[in-house]
């Protein structure tokens, strides 16, 4: 049967991490690929389409794994895909310079019986190290085609594809190979295999011997499945496995798993003996990579260089993205301005300008930032340096229940003040251990992101103007301390559990390929745009409605109208015209004729603006957000916040930079643009309700409370559940209330700030 029925033949790509799997995937599929997630979990699923001689093929890149056990999500995903989807061919990429360890996975694939094609990759690197491999002989011994390639340069790609199509056409049935596991295991394995085969126990998905082996290896997933299908046979098998385990522990002080692994490696070394691998005498010389490591992971020089490199990543991400971010912001502002003039004033204009353009613009302005961050991380990852960072910092981060790789997420989130939690949360993708990763995701938003900094700057200017630099440094330290301590708290309560085994490979240093970097960066950025865009649009419309509705009763707006008329009535007729055509609404419009207009017109305009600001304050107070803010006073009085602060903080949940402008509206200051916060700062400094203690309490609260909802959406995406998104909102706000409350009350007790 030739698959011309419109259905593409399915080919899977399997291999260890760092064996050139992704490079090969990119070389084969080019741009025709698509990244998604496996249903319900956060492991990336990459698919691509290509054709050979008119044959349509679908290539799925399975997660990089060292083994096909059930311990990590990646391994489970790879294994389940193989047995459930039954690919026509499994391309098993093998790093030729690391043949033994890579063949360990190959062996498990062959034991599963999958139609494997071994791709002997990086033969150039191996030859550079004095290792020559006889592919034909290896192929004869493992009974599977072996094709040597160099994925980076695309060498061997054509032969590989032709061999893959040929193997797919063979329509081979899955035929597992049989490995001997020695006198302690083999008899019981045979017995179990016979029992499984005669009862047709799970044989529709797994080969009988493989199921038996998994029972001996205490593989939870397979055992669980077996219990569901046939609990009687399952308990018999488990009893047999237990007996062997006890026997081995008593007599040899070892486990079946250990013996099985030993025999697999034994099988591999027998495979490679005499004639397959040829090593040069000079193979023992120091590799270049090891020499680089002597400097980059040196006890003294290593950390210094690391901090310099991380600082450079930070600079690169934020400086180079600054200009495109501003272009996008200006573009959206211009679009908003255009729509404002094109549409008649009213709810529709307000919805489109504030709700839609403001919301979508807010999301898209992050795109350059995310793009540069992923580019920098892809570079560090592909060169192999990121693994060294994890290696050097692991001891510190482990103390707090995290992983060496957590540092990246913290720094990008604002560990160096001015980052952003959105790319920060996404940067945790380099972490493979799930508990550590989740703890990092949940605590990274405590860092001082670029949107919190202007709010802090405004408050510092108002109350701590003589200690600016000192305050910012203090706030950076405070955010690190909170992130690490809350990580420790989370890891010892809701995410309790031993740390995931570290065992990290330090791949040889490599120069990344340009194409690889671009594909890597783009696919992750595009994912952000697509997924974040839709949800965020909906939420930003909700926020707009909360701040704009309901309108105050007719009597209130009429009262403002009357006051406006009174101002105008005081003016002579000819000047009234000038005032009205200026900007009767009172927005801070600067007309070029300002200097020539008589003082009386200026005065009237001033008065009208003041009325408009008061009206905006009244509208805000009457809106859902305003009422909620007033209702929240019941709780927030404890930390000294009134409804104005509460509304500003609520708006800050939409985007932290909105705190300043909303506070401006609430204090009837008009909309305060971010750069011109001097007036608000002065207003607060002279307000008898405000003092240093209250300002510092607010700073602590803003540092810790709910992340902005764009971050929350990213948390949901990265953690794979809305529950964690909700948790981060509630937990962080709770933490903020508690700590800022402590600051406030200790402050009052010590009579600070008065």
């Amino acid at each position: 049967m030739n698959s011309n029925s419109g259905e593409e033949s399915l080919i899977a790509l399997l291999g260890n991490p760092n064996c050139g799997k992704t490079t090969l995937f990119n070389a084969i599929t080019g741009a025709r690929q698509h990244v998604g997630n496996y249903p319900g979990i956060t492991v990336e699923k990459k698919e691509g389409f290509f054709s050979v001689d008119g044959r349509a093929l679908r290539l799925v890149d399975l997660p990089g794994t060292y083994s096909l056990t059930a311990y990590s999500l990646e391994e489970l995903v790879a294994r389940d895909f193989l047995v459930n989807e039954r690919p026509k061919v499994v391309l098993n990429i093998v790093d030729a310079s690391n043949l033994e360890r890579n063949l360990y996975l190959t062996l498990q694939l062959l034991e599963l019986g999958a139609p494997a094609l071994v791709v002997l990759n990086m033969v150039d690197v191996a030859e550079g190290r004095g290792i020559r491999i006889d592919g034909a002989e290896l192929s004869r011994r493992i009974q599977a085609p072996v094709i040597p390639t160099v994925a980076r340069s695309g060498k061997g790609k054509e032969e590989l594809l032709r061999a893959a199509v040929a193997l797919a056409d063979e329509q081979r049935t899955w035929t597992p190979i049989k490995i001997s596991y020695g006198p302690d295991i083999d008899p019981v394995l045979d017995e179990m295999e016979a029992m499984i085969a005669s009862a047709e126990f799970l044989t529709d998905i797994y080969p009988a011997r493989w199921t038996a082996l998994k029972h001996l290896e205490a593989d939870e997933q397979v055992i669980e499945k077996g219990r569901e299908v046939n609990s009687e046979l399952s308990s018999k098998l488990e009893a047999l496995a237990r007996r062997v385990t006890e026997h081995l522990q008593r007599t040899l002080d070892t486990y079946p798993e250990a013996i099985i692994a030993d025999h697999r490696y034994g099988y591999i070394s027998a495979l490679l003996k005499s004639g397959v691998v040829e090593r040069d005498a000079k193979a023992d010389r120091l590799f270049i990579s090891d020499q680089i490591d002597r400097v980059l992971t040196n006890r003294f020089l290593g950390p210094l260089l690391m901090f310099a490199i991380l600082y450079m990543v930070y600079q690169f991400t934020f400086q180079y993205s600054e200009l495109p971010v501003r272009w996008l912001e200006d573009g959206f502002a211009a679009l908003g301005g255009f729509m404002e003039s094109a549409l008649p004033p009213g709810p529709l204009q307000s919805l489109i300008v504030t709700g839609v353009i403001g919301g979508v613009g807010g999301v898209l302005s992050f795109v350059p930032l995310i793009l540069f961050m992923f580019l920098a991380i892809a570079f560090l990852e592909d060169t192999g340096y990121l693994a060294r960072v994890a290696y050097m910092l692991d001891r510190v981060f482990r103390t707090f229940g995290l992983h060496g790789s957590s540092v990246m997420a913290y720094i990008v989130s604002g560990g160096i003040a001015g980052g952003c939690a959105v790319p920060g949360v996404m940067a945790t993708r380099t972490l493979r251990s799930s508990r550590e990763r989740l703890a990092t995701i949940l605590t990274a938003p405590f860092m001082n992101c670029g949107a919190k900094v202007p709010v802090f700057a405004m408050l510092i200017a108002a109350f701590f103007s003589e200690q600016r630099a000192y305050m910012l440094f203090l706030l950076t330290l405070m955010s690190w301390a909170s992130a690490l301590l809350f990580a420790k708290l989370i890891r010892s309560t809701i995410l309790r559990g031993p740390s995931t085994p570290f065992l990290l490979e330090l791949p040889p240093y490599r120069l990344p390929t340009f194409k690889g970097l671009l594909i890597h960066t783009w696919e992750r950025t595009w994912q952000y745009i697509r997924k974040a865009g839709t949800t965020i649009l909906a939420i930003s419309i909700i926020f707009w409605a909360l701040m704009a509705y309901p309108k105050p009763p007719e009597t209130v707006s009429r009262a403002f109208e009357t006051r406006r008329e009174q101002v105008l009535a005081k003016l002579p007729d000819d000047l009234r015209q000038a005032v009205e055509t200026g900007d009767a609404k009172g927005a801070p419009a600067e007309t070029p004729t300002r200097d020539q207009t008589p003082a009386i017109v200026q005065g009237a305009k001033e008065e009208l603006r003041a009325i408009a600001r008061e009206e905006a304050e009244a509208n805000l107070k009457h809106s859902f957000a305003g009422r909620a803010g007033t209702a929240m006073e019941a709780v927030t009085r404890w930390v000294g916040f009134d409804w104005r602060t509460n509304v500003a903080l609520t708006a800050g949940f939409a985007a932290k930079e909105l705190i300043i402008s909303t506070l401006g509206t609430a204090y009837a200051m008009g909309e305060v643009p971010e750069e011109e916060d001097i007036s608000l700062s002065r207003r607060l400094a002279s307000d008898p309700d405000w003092n240093r203690l209250k300002a510092f309490t607010l700073i602590v609260f803003i540092m810790l409370y709910a992340p902005c909802f764009i971050t929350v959406i990213c948390i949901v995406r990265e953690s794979g559940s809305w529950g964690w998104g909700l948790f981060s909102v509630l937990f962080n706000t709770g933490a903020a209330l508690l700590l800022s409350g402590a600051v406030y009350h200790i402050g009052i007790w010590l009579r600070l700030g008065v």
């Binding site: 311990y71 250990a258 692994a261 030993d262 692991d394 001891r395 570290f502 065992l503 330090l506």
Partner: protein, 81 residues
């Protein structure tokens, strides 16, 4: 020929693994990476805070935490120190 735990090996030392006492996930991970009895390892160095340790197995570099290295017994090649 002395037998020591991997944790106690110094940078530059070479040896042959004699026993891996870990079971469960850690044991599986250790074995997946080729650390089985008979494997030759070479200590490359340690992280700046003395933990984790970097070793060379076959021809790749692997790092593991000291508390994970505690499960690995190594027969040290004394002349190679």
């Amino acid at each position: 020929m002395a037998e020591v735990l991997l944790r106690h090996m110094a940078a530059g030392q070479k040896g042959v693994i004699t026993k891996v006492k870990a079971s469960g996930e850690l044991g599986r991970r250790i074995r997946d990476m080729g650390l089985t009895p008979g494997a030759v390892i070479h200590v490359q160095g340690r992280a700046p805070l003395k933990d984790p340790v970097a070793i060379k197995v076959q021809s790749f570099v692997l790092t593991l935490r000291n508390n994970e290295a505690d499960f690995i017994h190594v027969r040290v090649d004394e002349d190679n120190e």
